[in-house]
């Protein structure tokens, strides 16, 4: 990326068009990835309630997967799932 010169900087260090939180993809911090098993899921939505990053994707009251753009791999969903429908797998590097 080409860095700006001092003359190109806006006064007061204002950053315009700044991304709001959905635009910051924070999922790359993850070292463990949740694996979702659709056949074991009863769609109780406990994982959805507990996920601290709203990374459980839900459509029409049913879990449809995990949003890996934001999931940080904390494993809470796997821990709270009463059916063992989510398991944590080491990220492959």
């Amino acid at each position: 990326m080409k860095l700006k010169t001092w003359k190109e900087l806006e006064e007061g260090g204002v950053v315009r068009n700044t991304p709001t939180s959905p635009q910051y993809k924070t999922g790359d911090w993850r070292i463990k990835t949740p694996l979702f098993s659709e056949s074991d899921c009863t769609h109780c939505l406990i994982c959805f309630l507990y996920c601290p990053d709203s990374a459980i994707k839900v459509k029409l009251g049913k879990v449809i997967g995990i949003d890996l753009d934001y999931c940080k791999g904390c494993g809470i969903c796997a821990n709270v799932c009463p059916k063992g429908a989510i398991s944590m797998k080491e990220e492959e590097i």
């Binding site: 010169t5 001092w6 900087l9 007061g12 260090g13 204002v14 700044t18 709001t20």
Partner: protein, 396 residues
């Protein structure tokens, strides 16, 4: 002079400042009381309580919070004023840099008072001299009348330059001294200051912005150079705003410096704030005896008007610089160091003697000012400076 036909009132410096604030009718005032400037906000809070202004008045729990509130309000696009002194200003110190680097106009009125320790409540300039490198504009006023007019100008200057601006007056000497103040009509003030046009507003949800973001080695240097440009450009703004004010209202309020009998002067004293009045009195006396002496009162310390000082002092034989603050550099006060640095590139430059005076409110009278001129005359005759700097009024 048009000024003679103007309405005048008797006001102390603090009263004059509060009255200017009332006419300015700022959107937000946040402050914490401290001697000797407490009265400014005390009087202003009465205007708020009586419904004479539309200001959101925010009494806070410390000066650190006061300046932080001012920053938040100014970033939202509001017109903001605060007041403080001494320890209060010192407590604001870290936040002062943030206000200037975010290019936020704020007007701060300061009643100059010595810093602890030892504890003291009287006048010297150690408080604001300690803040002179914070990126704020600094204007030191001689008397209550100048305080009043300078605050009104400071609103325009601060908002046009997008820089915070301090307006100083000497603690007790001016803050509590009753003087003749020529005042403008409310409408005149309103039309002169107009409406603020902010660079940006935090409250503009249509255009979200990030402010005060982390800036490391890849951008900090460029950022500071960019900020400096704003201070350089402020010089023209200061000049133009005061010029417009003088032309419109016929009030002779100086912009950068006030010259007093310096055209043909061989000896000139450079001094700030209220002590200039004492020197002018002595200059009158010496001029009557035919001595070529003058006073150059420096009003604006930041940005430092070195161009003007070079031009005005190049042909002078001996210059005495009066500092009402000690820097412990062991080579003089802040003004004398900067003045000598400003004159150094000149091929023809005067002998410059540094003086320190009036610390902690020590009285500075006619006989003290006379003694300064005696020392300078002696230097002129010997064509040599023998002492690095001299404390005036010191018990030896």
């Amino acid at each position: 002079m048009k000024v003679e036909t103007r309405k005048f009132v008797a006001k102390t410096g603090n009263e004059a400042a509060a009255f200017a604030m009332k006419q300015i009718n700022p959107d937000v005032v946040a402050a914490y009381p401290i001697t000797p400037s407490s009265e400014i906000v005390m009087i202003f809070s009465k205007y708020v309580a009586d419904g004479e202004v539309d200001t959101e008045f925010i009494p806070v729990e410390s000066e650190h919070s006061a300046i932080s509130v001012c920053i938040g309000a100014s970033a939202s696009g509001a017109r903001v004023i605060t007041a403080t002194s001494s320890q209060g200003l010192a407590l604001m110190h870290e936040i002062l840099y943030i206000a200037s680097s975010m290019r936020l106009p704020i007007v701060m009125i300061v009643g100059n008072r010595a810093l602890s320790g030892p504890l003291n409540i009287h006048c010297d300039h150690s408080d604001t001299m300690g803040s002179r490198d914070c990126g704020w504009i600094q204007m030191y006023c001689e008397n209550a009348n100048e305080v009043y007019h300078t605050i009104i100008n400071a609103v325009r200057i601060s908002e046009e330059a997008n820089l915070p601006c301090m307006v100083m007056m000497d603690g007790f000497i001016v803050t509590h001294g009753m003087e003749k103040v020529f005042v403008l009509e409310d409408e005149e003030v309103k039309s002169f200051i107009g409406k603020r046009k902010p660079l940006y507003s935090l409250l503009d949800v249509e255009k979200p912005i990030t402010l005060g973001s982390l800036t490391l080695f890849d951008y900090y240097l460029e950022y500071k150079r960019n900020q400096l440009e704003g201070v350089i450009k402020a010089k023209k703004i200061i000049n133009d705003v005061f010029e417009e004010y003088r032309a419109r209202f016929g009030i002779n309020v100086p912009s950068f410096v006030e010259e007093y009998n310096i055209e043909d002067a061989e000896i000139v004293v450079v001094v700030m704030s209220s002590a200039a009045g004492t020197f002018k009195e002595v200059v009158d006396e010496l001029r009557n005896k035919g001595e070529k002496v003058g006073v150059l009162r420096l009003k604006v310390m930041r940005p430092f008007p070195y161009e003007i000082l070079r031009e005005k002092l190049t042909n002078v034989k001996v210059v005495g610089v009066m500092d009402r603050a000690e820097t412990f550099s062991t080579m003089g006060g802040p003004l004398s160091i900067e003045l000598r640095a400003a004159l150094y590139p000149l091929s023809k430059r005067p002998l410059v003697q540094s003086f320190v005076f009036g610390l902690g409110g020590r009285e500075f009278g006619i006989e003290d000012a006379m003694k300064v001129f005696d020392i300078l005359k002696d230097i002129g005759m010997k064509n040599k400076i023998t002492e690095e700097y001299i404390y005036i009024g010191l018990r030896e």
